[in-house]
Amino acid sequence: MDAIRVHGLTKRYGDVLAVDDIGFAAPPGATIGLLGGNGAGKTTTIAMLLGMLLPTSGTIHVLGHDMARDRFGALARMNFSSPYVSLPHRLTVAENLRAYGHLYNVPHVNRRIAELARELDLEPLLKRPCGDLSAGQKTRVALAKSLINRPDVLLLDEPTASLDPDTGDWVRSWLERYRAESGCTILLASHNMAEVERMCTDVLMLKQGQIVDRGSPRELLARYGRDDLEEVFLDIARDRRQPVPV
């Protein structure tokens, strides 16, 4: 059974077609990259996968749960991280993690927080208010929040945006290790092509709400005759080169 299965997914806001009849499947343990320019439909797709936004048409199944009918069954086993959605600033890191531990019904929540603090190097930060943290520290806290329930499906919206290269690399390595150990399925929306190339088993190229191409990073590079995904991205975004016929 696929961890994520999307079929005919469409979202329309009045005359604007934000997502146009997309479909894809993510097997357990895969890391799927969502690539596309601003307004391509990445965030809208993620919001629909999380049940925050209702599709105009189409179906979404996550971990076997139909998100239209039974989203809470899936949400308990999913999580999400984005540097653009903050945690309450006045609460300490530990308080935020504890609150989410309760919301996700995590057993032995204090033990889980200690575990995450150790793994993500958050121990010195646990008693500090989230609002006092640096961008890199906030990202690690957001990551800890998204892992509090040991999710089987993890949705990440530009998880390393605004991080320095060292911290960004550390986060990527940590996520790769987590996926390998847990078998978690990751859906990654990113503008960082090197990140997508490194982490993703498959990539969906979005443009104007449609999936215009898909494949593994290696397949895409070969198809467009390019050396890196950034060039592939620009080829698609600017309509400047069609895939090389195989």
Partner: protein
């Protein structure tokens, strides 16, 4: 703890942690009820001194009105402001993608409103007893019914406000503070419904608060419990709570259609 209780507690814990860390928020809870009690208490004392013992009963009805009105007001504001705290901290998105059901969100907000109301009102009740020798609990067990009806009224008004925030975003947040003041003239807090013009009386009869305050005056001034007012208040609360729940469910659904849960704090 069951899953539901745990999730409700999770949201409550988040708010309680916030209060533990923010003394201005705690001060704000008690400030207005104490201020109101001081102003109206001294006004009642002045009237009693000027008009003699005949005004004493009216003064106690005034103080009872002040305190009981705070029950409705603090319940409504407690619930609506707790929701707004999520909007202001841009945390609503995280909450809505957790397994917390919308009705569990409402339950947590109600629980927070009870705590906020109790913390805010307790010093004013104590103050009324010390400064004006007014014992709210002298009304007897019927006070519980007055409290319950006013709290429920605060909740359905707050649910309406939350629905409007879901519909119109932060532009509607001013209602969290002001909406109940608009209802106050019809609630007959300090005067009987009969003094209102005919058209206003019709509106007042549709509000549980007007029946509660008529009931309170019956207890304080005449020493009898007007049960028919309490029955009316309860039925009206059931009706309005049902209507507000339908409105909330509809606006929550619409917010998911429009994507408002993503952008409500912006």
């Amino acid at each position: 703890m069951t899953g539901t209780a745990r999730r409700v507690w999770g949201l409550m814990y988040r708010h309680l942690a916030l209060y533990r860390r923010s003394w201005p928020r705690l001060l704000e809870l008690t400030y207005w009820p104490i201020l109101g009690m001081c102003i109206w208490g001294f006004t009642a004392t002045f009237l009693t001194n000027r008009l003699g013992s005949g005004a004493a009963a009216a003064a106690s009805a005034l103080l009872g009105g002040v305190l009981l009105w705070e029950v409705a007001l603090r319940s409504q504001m407690g619930m609506a402001i707790s929701f707004l705290e999520e909007v202001w901290s841009r945390n609503l998105g995280h909450i809505m993608i957790s397994p917390l059901r919308p009705w569990e969100l409402v339950t947590a907000l109600i629980a927070m409103s009870i705590i906020r109301m109790a913390v805010g009102l307790a010093p004013a009740i104590v103050l009324a007893w010390f400064l004006y020798a007014f014992n709210l609990f002298a009304m007897g067990p019927v006070l519980i019914l007055f409290f319950l009806n006013l709290m429920v009224m605060g909740w359905w008004v707050a649910l309406g406000v939350v629905s409007l925030i879901l519909r119109h975003g932060a532009g509607a947040e001013g209602l969290a503070w002001s909406v109940l003041f608009g209802i106050a003239p019809f609630s007959a807090v300090f005067y009987p419904v009969s003094v209102l013009p005919e058209a206003m009386q019709a509106v007042a009869r549709g509000l549980p608060s007007a029946h509660v305050f008529e009931g309170m005056r019956g207890v304080l001034l005449d020493g009898v419990i007007p049960w028919h007012h309490l029955i009316w208040a309860s039925w009206l609360n059931v009706f309005w709570l049902g209507a507000a729940s339908v409105l909330f469910a509809r606006q929550f659904h619409q917010a998911r259609v429009r994507g408002a849960l993503l952008s409500i704090g912006e």
